[in-house]
Each structure stands twice: as C-alpha cells, then as structure tokens.
Symmetry: C2
C-alpha cells in the first residue's frame, strides 16, 4: 500500500534508536542526533500555528494529530504508532496539533538540520519526498474512509488498519478512547460504541475488554469495505 521502499531511513532505524541513520550517496552514513522526550497522556507535542522545529518519530506510545474547530468539534487527521514518523511539513507552521494518546516517548530531530542534509544529499532528499508522499497516501486513504461510507464500514476499516499496523495482528490493543475513534471517523462515540456491539453480535470481533479487540473474523470485516 505504501509507496515508500523498505530501505527508507525512517523505516530502517529501529524504534529504540536515538539516531536516524542517513545513508548518503557515497555509502557513508550520518548519524543525526535526536532528542528523546517523554510525554504524558494528553500532553501536547506541538500545537497548531507553532513553527515547525522538529521531525518526530514515535518510540513508544501513540500520537494523535488533530484540528480543533471553533465550535468544539474536533477532527483527528491521523494516529501514529511506534516506528512512525510525523510532524514533517513543508510550511513553516504546524497545521495540526499533535498530542500523546497515552504516555509516550518521542524522538525529536531538528528539522533544519535534516533539511540541510537533504539539500546536499540526493538520496536523503528523495527520502524526504517519499516520506511526505506516504503521508499523502495516508491522508487520501483517510479521505476515502470519511466519504460516503456507513458507520459499519468506517469502524471495520479502522479496525483492519489498526490490526495491520500492530505486530500481533489478531488482537488489537487500542490505545485511544471511543472519543478519539469517533473524531477520527467523523462519528459520535455512541455510534462507534453501537457499531462495535453490532460487529460483536455478528461474531466478526470479540471485545474481552473495551480497548482489546479480537478480530475473530477479519474476512467479515473486509467484506464491509468496497
């Protein structure tokens, strides 16, 4: 699904590393020092309108990237799980707010330093592009999800997506609340909850705990997606 080759610098470095390994054209490597910071649940990592200082990568925990509307409604643009990069924007200011969904550890790399390397190194520059293109794919997929789809289709697609991004795919441990899921899918918490109950009654999933979801019948979930 993603357009980024497996040798991406962002994919390659393991989640525990303090460094982003940057392969250069002549096969040497740079190590760009990144700072590790811990964020408590619901702590803001960066806010809408703030200058873009860092490229971020989830080491542990989970992050939501969202936008708050005047009337209190909120749209979550993406969730980010360990190993995923976020906060990379071409503009000078953040267009969204990023917050820790659970207690999280984030690797922060100076954006300016990274861009400086990209300006000198075609390989890095290309990766910069590909990472952004991957974000674009994500946003497009999310857009497709929000279009004219039923609650059942949205929730099923969400669960399958989460499962695909989790190591142990059969059981999904959701880090986020029903509120977060609702704001991600453009639904209310009540509808999300009811929809999960419907899927449970259909034996498509099991809910041993409200945030632990067993994909008992993934095919049934996939069948809900066009």
């Amino acid at each position: 699904m993603t357009a980024v080759p497996s040798h991406s610098v962002f994919q390659r470095c393991d989640p525990d590393s303090t460094f982003i390994t940057v392969p250069t054209g002549d096969a040497r490597t740079f190590d760009l020092l990144g700072a590790r910071l811990d964020y408590e649940r619901n702590a803001e990592i960066y806010g809408e309108g703030e200058p873009v200082e860092f490229i971020c990568k989830v080491i542990s925990g989970a992050v939501r990237v969202s936008k708050l509307l005047e009337d209190g409604r909120r749209q979550i643009g993406a969730f980010h799980l360990p190993g995923e990069v976020f906060g990379l924007e071409a503009g000078a200011e953040h267009r969204f707010t990023a917050e820790a969904v659970t207690d999280s550890r984030i690797l922060l790399v100076q954006r300016a330093a990274f861009l400086a390397i990209a300006a000198r190194d075609a390989q890095v520059s290309r990766e910069l592009w590909e990472v952004t293109a991957r974000d674009l794919c994500r946003a497009q997929d999310h857009m497709l999800l929000l279009g004219r789809r039923t609650a059942l289709e949205k929730v099923a697609a969400f669960l399958l997506d989460m499962a695909a991004r989790t190591p142990a795919a059969a059981v999904v441990e959701l880090p986020m609340s029903r509120y977060d899921i609702a704001d991600y899918l453009g639904l209310t918490i009540e509808t999300v909850s009811r929809t999960l109950t419907v899927l449970e009654n259909r034996k498509a999933i099991a809910l041993p705990a409200s945030r632990r979801i067993v994909l008992a019948n993934p095919a049934a979930l996939r069948a809900l997606n066009a």
Copy 2:
C-alpha cells in the same frame, strides 16, 4: 494557506507554456519539453493501477481525480483547475483515476526526466517535495471537509474554495456536474441541489444558471465554516 513559495517551478510557468522552467542551483535554466494533449469531456487521462509516466498540469479545462469502489460509489479526491499540477506520485502506480471534467488541454512532462533532474539539483528536488506537500495540505483540507460536517457546511466550503481558485472570484463558473460535486463532498446530488437552494433562499448565493454561482454574501458562507 499553501506551503509552496511563489517561485515554484510549477507555479511560475504560465499555463500556455509548452515548457516547465526548471531553475538550477547555478542559476541557469533547463527547459523540459512537455507534450500538450487535448482530452474530451470525461476522457481518461490516466487510470488507477497504471504506471506513473507523466507529471500533469492543467492548461485549460478541469480535471477530476477519483476512485471507484466496487459497489459503484465514487469518491472524488480533488478537482484541478488551470495552472495546477497533478499526477505526481512517489509510487510506481497511480492510486487514482484522472479524467477531464470538460474538454481540457493538459501538459504532460516525463516523470523520469523530471526525477532525474531532481536527483542532481537540490533546488528542484526541494520543489518536488514542496509540490507533494501542497498536495498533502489539499488532501488534509478535504479530509476536514468530509469529517463531521453538515451538507450546508460542506457546500459552502466548496463554493468558497472554488471561488478562491478562480480569477474572477465573485462569480464562479462550475465546470463540474452536481454528480461530481456530490461525489467530492460525500453527499448525494439531491442533497447538493437542495443545499444550493437553501443558500439561494438565504441570499448567500444567486444561481443565474445551474452552473453559474454568484457569491452574493461570502461572509454568510464563511460563517458556516468553523
């Protein structure tokens, strides 16, 4: 709103030019030959799954980029108006289908040739990134539009967006059908039509013809957006 500086190679070349002017690091310029092709209304410019051969730019007319679901539902990801670039993807295959909304003239530039220049030229490479980042912004804005918003909010935002992208902003000449608008906003044609009627009754817009829209009271439209 857009993150791309005004000196972008894509922005800079005028819509009539057969060339995309590429400024290089040492201030010389390359001229990349692009082919002009004409497409009839509803003709396919490229299809989902096809290899990405060209970067496209609208010279005249309008383009819709969409995805068709198995059950016949269609989601339009974007409309592109004269001067706008589309079809630039990091992956090898197109994820969406592009079609001419009206009879259109499109400038097609070899993707491989452009990427080759980007690999040698940091300035061009950065532009490549920024153009993709602009697409990302667009997709994110569209995502926000499709989230939990009423038909009235969606249609108002759509009209304002079209107006902002049209030279003579007071009167918007829509190139696309109600069907296209509906599939772009995640609504039905009936709801789009009814919503336009509501806006007309509220004196927010006037409809001298079904595809000619006068923004009589843009402030009223803006008030509908959070």
